[in-house]
């Protein structure tokens, strides 16, 4: 397969640096896209496609942290984005919240992806505490906007990552943080792209997250050698993004991706699945996917995605109603092949536009606690009304 089924788009300085790191780890480097207003950042990034936004207005010097300028600049490149996202099933958007491009341009990218029928998975890093209150406030505001535009949103607070990247040097800390993120994203990509023994796809991630609020965290752990499974597990549960396992214990559901080489044994997979399901709360749900990759000989990589109900509750402004639970025991009708994925994505999109708003459809919605109050209450509460 030559054409990637997904695109990984880094937006802004932080996003581009992570994409650059991903060049080394992803299966299809041709899937990487970098978008920024700063020409130098783009030069340093090894993405397959690079889009410089705001060339005319900003003289290639950045947006100066102004989300509105970034948004307008991104809109100018919309046709270009459309062409990139045509016939792609999923778009992963990576950016740092708090800056101009992340807050302004990234939502445009997600919007375009969804218009093209792709699902948009957003991954955001939250600024370090020391970057100041203004930047943190901007990040919170941007997060709400993101949650509205993305199908699912995964968060990575830099502060938590920094505990892990115990590098005293500032540049080193940033580099390590980006490395952790790149590894995690690479893990997710592998799960989706590599032919799996037990398959997982983006629809699974999306329905898992949306059933629990739409916002989640993700973590990555790796192990090598004889006890590679135990090592990988320790690295995963000790990952600061999972708050040293506390996020797992809190979680109502978890999705675990296991990538290993040809030498990975059934016993190892069983051990990992068992261990993770034990660390999740007693009534937690668990989804496991495995993939075999030739470059993972002698290694096991774990990726966990955990919905974070706390973050969702406070931050999500859900224009997207959660997917209805699939009927228990119903066999999946769509075979998990690449070809089958695309039409399914399109269909999901249609469903999102269903709730009627009648006379309020053209005015600014009244949103509270993540609910659009203009949509009739009986629809949102799922009360069935006899039409007769």
């Amino acid at each position: 397969m030559t054409e990637p089924v997904l695109r990984i788009v880094g937006v802004g300085g932080a996003g581009c640096r992570i994409v650059d790191r991903l060049f080394d780890t992803v299966v299809h480097p041709s899937a990487l896209v970098a978008i920024d207003s700063d020409a130098r950042t783009l030069d340093e990034c090894r993405a397959a496609a690079k889009i410089q936004i705001g060339e005319s207005a900003g003289c290639g010097m950045g947006t100066g942290g102004d989300p509105e300028a970034a948004r307008l600049a991104a809109l100018e490149e919309k046709e270009m984005l459309r062409a990139l996202f045509a016939d792609v099933g999923m778009v992963v958007v990576i950016a740092g919240l708090g800056g101009g491009a992340g807050a302004g341009a990234a939502p445009v990218v997600m919007e375009t992806a969804r218009e093209e029928g792709a699902l948009a998975l957003a991954m955001a890093t939250l600024p370090f505490f020391f970057e100041g209150a203004a930047r943190n406030r901007a990040a919170r505001a941007a997060m709400k906007d993101w949650a509205r535009h993305a199908d699912s949103l995964l968060l990575a607070p830099n502060d938590r990552l920094a505990e892990f990247a115990d590098d005293p040097a500032l540049a080193g800390a940033f580099r390590k943080v980006n490395g952790i993120l790149a590894a995690g994203i690479g893990g997710i990509e592998k799960l989706i792209v590599e032919p799996g023994l037990i398959n997982l796809d983006f629809a699974d991630i999306r329905s898992l997250l949306n059933r629990h609020g739409g916002i989640g965290v993700f973590a990555y752990g790796e192990g090598q050698g004889a006890d590679k499974a135990a090592q990988a597990l320790r690295a995963l549960t000790g990952n600061p993004l999972l708050e040293n396992g506390r996020a797992l214990a809190r979680a109502k559901a978890v999705m675990l991706g296991i990538v290993g080489g040809e030498d990975m044994t059934l016993k190892e997979v069983g051990f990992l699945a068992q261990a993770v399901s034990e660390s999740v709360g007693p009534d937690g749900k668990m989804l496991v996917g495995t993939a075999v990759s030739s470059d993972h000989e002698g290694r096991i990589a774990l990726t966990a995605i955990v919905p974070d109900p706390a973050a969702s509750e406070s931050e999500r402004v859900a224009a997207v109603p959660p997917d209805p639970e699939p009927a228990e025991g119903e066999p999946e009708t769509n075979a998990p092949e690449e070809g089958a994925r695309l039409p399914r994505a399109r269909q999901t999109r249609l469903k999102l536009e269903m709730p009627g708003k009648g006379r309020f459809k053209d005015v600014e919605p009244t949103i509270q606690n993540g609910q659009d109050l203009d949509i009739p209450t009986y629809i949102r509460r799922g009360i069935v009304i006899g039409k007769g």
Partner: protein
Amino acid sequence: MAIPPVVGLEIGTSKTIALVGELREDGHVMIIGMGERESAGVRKGEIVDMGQTQACVRAVLEQAEENARVHIGQVHLAVTGGHIQSMVNRGTAPIMDREHGVTEDDMDQVVHVAGAVNLAQDREILHTICQHYRVDGQEPVVNPEGMDGAWLELDMLALHGIRSRIRNAVRIVESLSMDAGEVVFGGICAALATLTTEQKKSGVIVVDMGGGTTDYLAYADGVVAAAGAIGVGGDHVSNDIALAFNIPMARAERLKREHGSAIPDPAQASRRVSLPAEVGFPSRSISISALQTVIHARCDELLGMIKARLEKAGVPSRIGAGIVLTGGGSRLTGIGTLAGRIAGLPCHTGRPRNLSGLTLATDGPEYTVCAGLIKYAFMCLSERRSSDAFGVWMDRIRGMIKRR
């Protein structure tokens, strides 16, 4: 007669109303004229089409001029909209004269400090309302004058909204070559019109259910504890009905008035109401229980939301005088019972008090806001003339949008 008549204008979601009021010698307010028309270009309390709204306001004011036989030069405005929020801001100032305790100057100073609320750039303060003073962090007092201490604190409730939306109403009035006078939050108007002093003292929640927005204001411990607006009103109820049964908005509106209830009525559960055929719509019948279920869901959610907001703002659950419902939405059958049930408080419908004149205007809950607005305007006038009881009250609720 020293005080000229005043004009109050409410550009509501469903109706635009203007009332002309006159202050009698004995302090009684008399409504001497009114204009009224279905609104155009307004959604959820906010103006979305300036041109349409302007034409509508012009017609309403002309009607009021004719009706009251006065020339209207200045118009006071009631504003609402889901963007209006409240917050409590605490200010602190040193007590300068340690020998005589708190002076008027100290109080002015702390009012100034507490009124300096930090807002997002696109917002502006609509009102600041003094809640209570504290001296050196002790028990709250209403009037600290003469008290001993080092520091004076003041809790101030600030009502704020998005500047451009508030200004839209002002702009419309000015485009008709009239002066915009006071700009007042609808919830304050509703409270002024319907509440008695005893109710305010023992604690009360006033809820004004309009077409597109619902304003609320709560008194607890003798002060305004919280206020705000939610962009959901009677229009939403009708819209829900229209969508649920796939009928036009006008029919839904009529169904709501004639057969609607906020609490499903078991006696009517099996009944159906038939709709005669209209152009483009065949005749059909609708189950009353389904209709009332749709209405109940919406009202239950709205009232629950207000309750949650008041709880969040720290309004105590023990409110002596219960809930006063007003506005056109309070005409819905069963809404009072539902509100009472949700809040666990007695609830009744409020109408404008201490008003005489045109019966229509003094009787209907739709006119509460406008009537309150006229009272507010007279209070502002008399404050400028003397510092009597009105003046003291005005000291506590300040309109911040200055006349030009």
